[in-house]
């Protein structure tokens, strides 16, 4: 497949000039194309925010739902039809703020998703309030004395929850980001990619330059199965590690459903429940 196969044609994109989102959409298109995934086999699930508009700018099925709620929607879609490639794609505020509870429990379920978080460390669409990942001291119209909350660390948290794939990427480095995203899609199970993204409109701290200076790639010999090591790497906020920090093979949510124990047919293809079985179930209530 070609990157162009995902082009939607003429559409007005609501992102600001210079925004990292333009790189992210390229990274996504390239990853899908290189993995030869047909647009009609992909479902993007997003919330609300600037990041969450991405599926509109791509040829794909999408469910652009409520702010914060993409993970449960994506989990259910994958469980209902495991043949689809499902990508939950939204911002840091969406996923770690409003949607924090689904982040935790989504990881525990381990559906086979790519969970791509555009982490610009700010609420973009609502004009620049702190997000859970905003750095301490960042001044905004609401955080007038600067952020005082401990920044949320998605990677340590995901590792603490024993997520099956935990990675950080940087959208300014497309080639490497494509590698990470592709791996995450191919990984069977829940795969978090926290994608660092500059927001030139509102985040004056975490700029392209800042990311360049404060990130590094994990060495090839990094042992992704070593949870403690991964945790330690993830705790470092001065130098942000890029790459796949941690992986753990485990059965997927949908894979463990009784409905798929015998056959893989998506639910929609199965038709109604067998009336005789229903009659039997009803008869049981005779005594």
């Amino acid at each position: 497949m070609d990157v162009k196969d995902y082009d939607i044609g003429d559409i007005d994109m609501a992102w600001c000039p210079g925004c990292g989102n333009f790189s992210i959409i390229k990274i996504i298109k390239r990853s899908l194309a290189e993995l030869e995934i047909t647009p009609s086999d992909v479902v993007f699930v997003s919330g609300i925010g600037q990041a969450a508009k991405l599926p509109h700018y791509l040829k794909c099925n999408f469910f652009n739902g409520l702010h914060g709620r993409s993970v449960p929607v994506a989990t259910a879609i994958k469980a209902t039809n495991p043949r689809l490639t499902v990508i939950a794609d939204s911002g840091d505020g969406c996923n770690y703020g409003e949607g924090g509870n689904h982040f935790i429990h989504g990881i525990r379920r381990n559906p086979d998703l790519l969970h791509l978080v555009h982490d610009n460390m700010i609420y973009g669409l609502t004009k620049g309030q702190a997000s859970p990942t905003s750095m301490k001291g960042m001044v905004t119209p609401v955080q007038v004395d600067g952020v005082i909350l401990e920044p949320f660390n998605p990677l340590t948290t995901a590792i603490a929850l024993n997520a099956s794939f935990v990675a950080r990427a940087y959208c300014g480095d497309q080639d490497k980001a494509v590698d990470i995203v592709k791996e995450a899609i191919q990984h069977e199970g829940y795969a978090l990619v926290d994608m660092l993204q500059p927001c030139p409109s509102f985040n004056e701290i975490n700029t392209y330059k800042w990311y360049k200076e404060n990130t590094y790639y994990l060495e090839d010999d990094h042992d992704r199965t070593d949870r403690s090591k991964a945790f330690e790497v993830a705790t470092d906020l001065d130098r942000l590690a890029l790459g796949v920090l941690y992986t753990r093979e485990k059965p997927t949510f949908e894979g463990q459903q009784q409905v798929y124990s015998k056959e893989q047919t998506p639910l929609w293809k199965r038709g109604q429940h067998d009336p005789d079985t229903l009659r039997e179930l009803i008869k049981k209530h005779r005594d």
Binding site: F62, P72, A76, A79, I282, H285, D287
Partner: protein
């Protein structure tokens, strides 16, 4: 004319003392022996201790409503008595042990605890109580013993035979009371009902759901709605159903919408507080035009309220919950049969109109049952409404009916794009005011067609009555029996199971009555208010109850007599 159907037996004890086992055993045995039965329970929001009770009515004809009056009371401990005191009348026979009952009138002394201990363990008390009832009602003993054997079949042989013995011990005491003419119960048996079904509202809803093709349930436990989650979860072995306990109600509703999007028939079950949390998701269903079936089992609010009690206090929430304006359907089953058939139908309606359908029940509906002859899983024809998409598919095509053909991803060449923002026909975000209006109008006209096939509200009695009693949902049988008891031909009864949209005949029906009296288990007459908002008609009187208890037949009789 005083019209009492059969007798009412109340068994009471602490949580954990096996009152539910008693209820189950006794109603099954009685039904198998040809008695009509009704049962309902009331219980505290705790796991052990406290005071719970179950009421079982036994009759030679169908019996389906709760009564205050207790004919036979078998308390298994002292606390139970205190709570039931207001319901004990001069005609109440109390069966049990002076050791914990103390000095009461009309006592049939049976040293239940002693007898149980003689069998080796206090825990047989409840089975002895079952035996006593069987004896008093002249039940076929072999049948009872057989049933007990099957009931406990998973247990050790020793336990089985002890239970059978317990039944016998109790039976003897009950029969003695009968033989010595201490009591005389003349309830005839009806062989034709032996194959009848006994299932509570919660189970009927979950069976109705599977009959409607439900294959996905995501929910968070909350009394009294959990029964439906449990009973669907239990069916995942036999049927293709995904059942998931969500981390919270918000996740539950969003999962259900994801599941419908991908082609499942999904539902959620919750109670008021959980439903409030789901209203943002409800509004999402409105916007993306997703079908979804939501079971809202009411309990008294506000907030945590009385978690295990009953009320009809969430109608306004069901009608108006969620921000913005979008169509929905609200159904409140009045009978066990309707729990089944209307739930079945709900999946078709949701799918056909692409709207949320709210099934509004309450703790009383969920936990009550009576014998019914049958349920037919194929009576309601299931219709499937999603299409195979072509390359040029647009999810939100403007149509005259307001219903845009619904595709699902992976079926056909089209892309299925749904969006919580206002969107154009393709599903893309728009801020075009004209498109906005077109899409709003389209969504809001979707239910215009609904009226044509809409079930009429149930109507009993004269068409131009002196008094018209209006009811909805779970009060149906209590109203019916109350009207029968009052025995005044000038009283008619109209009952709503489909609440919203309101049947267009409502104004006419109400206008024909001299006086309109509404019965609701809430404090502010929410349905009355809704009728007024729709028709302008104000009900002349309200019969309201909001103590957490269900309406009894007597409650309604008393108030009706005041009102006519």
């Amino acid at each position: 004319m005083f019209y009492i159907i059969g007798i009412s037996i109340v068994l009471a004890g602490q949580a954990g003392q096996g009152i539910q086992t008693v209820e189950r055993l006794l109603t099954r045995i009685l039904k198998l022996d040809g008695f009509h039965v009704f049962a309902t329970k009331e219980y505290m929001s705790r796991v052990r201790g406290g005071a719970n009770s179950t009421e079982i009515r036994v009759s030679s004809e169908p019996v389906r409503a709760y009564v205050d009056a207790i004919d036979i009371l078998i308390p298994i401990d002292k606390e139970a008595m205190k709570r039931l005191e207001p319901r004990i009348g001069t005609g109440t026979l109390i069966v049990g042990d002076t050791s914990y009952l103390g000095d009461v009138n009309n006592l049939l002394e049976v040293p239940i605890t002693e007898l149980a201990k003689d069998l080796g363990n206090k825990i047989y008390s409840n089975i002895i109580a079952v035996g006593i009832c069987c004896g008093m009602l002249d039940v076929d003993m072999n049948l009872a013993k057989d049933y007990v054997r099957t009931f406990f079949k998973e247990k050790d042989d020793d336990i089985i035979s002890k239970n059978v013995e317990a039944i016998e011990v109790g039976f003897k005491r009950g029969k003695d009371a009968r033989d010595t003419n201490l009591i005389s119960l003349d309830i005839s048996k009806d062989d034709s009902i032996k194959d009848d079904l006994l299932l509570h509202g919660g189970e009927a809803i979950s069976l109705g759901a599977v009959a409607g093709g439900c294959n996905f349930i995501s929910s968070y436990p909350m009394s009294p709605s959990t029964a439906v989650l449990v009973s669907l979860a239990q069916k995942t072995e036999e049927l293709d159903i995904i059942s998931e306990q969500a981390e919270d109600e918000i996740s539950a509703i969003n999962m259900a919408l994801g599941a419908w999007y991908a082609g499942a028939r999904a539902m959620i079950t919750t109670s008021g507080g959980g439903f409030a949390l789901m209203t943002e998701g409800l509004s999402l269903a409105g916007m993306i035009e997703s079908p979804v079936v939501m079971h809202l089992a009411q309990r008294p609010g506000p907030a945590t309220g009385l978690p295990t009690r009953t009320e009809q206090g969430d109608l306004a929430l069901a009608l108006h919950g969620g921000h913005g304006e979008f169509p929905r359907i609200i159904i409140a089953p009045a009978t066990i049969e309707e729990c089944f058939y209307l739930t079945n139908e709900s999946f078709n309606l949701a799918d056909e109109y692409q709207v949320p359908v709210i099934i509004l029940t309450d703790q009383y509906t969920i936990d009550s049952y009576y014998n019914i002859s049958s349920l037919d899983p194929t009576k309601v024809e299931n219709t499937r409404h999603f299409i195979k998409t072509g390359e040029e598919y647009h999810r939100y095509t403007i149509t005259e009916s307001g219903i845009s053909p619904r595709g699902i991803p992976g079926y056909g060449k089209g892309l299925v794009c749904v969006d919580s923002d206002e969107h154009d026909q393709q599903g893309h975000i728009t801020e075009n005011f004209t498109v906005r209006k077109q899409q709003m109008d389209k969504r809001l006209r979707k239910l215009d067609g609904f009226f044509k096939n809409m079930q009429e509200p149930a109507y009993h009695g004269s068409e131009s009555p002196g008094t018209l009693v209006v009811g909805w949902g779970s009060t149906y049988h209590a109203i019916r029996e109350a009207i029968n008891r009052v025995g005044d031909e000038s009283i008619a009864h109209v009952h709503y199971s489909i609440l919203h949209p309101l049947h267009p005949s409502t104004g006419d029906i109400l206008n024909k009555a001299k006086k309109v009296v509404i019965v609701e288990s809430n404090a502010t007459s929410q349905f009355g208010r809704y009728i007024r908002a729709e028709t302008g008609i104000k009900t002349d009187a309200t019969i309201l109850k909001y103590t957490g208890e269900p309406f009894s037949v007597e409650d309604i009789v008393k108030r009706l007599k005041e009102e006519i």
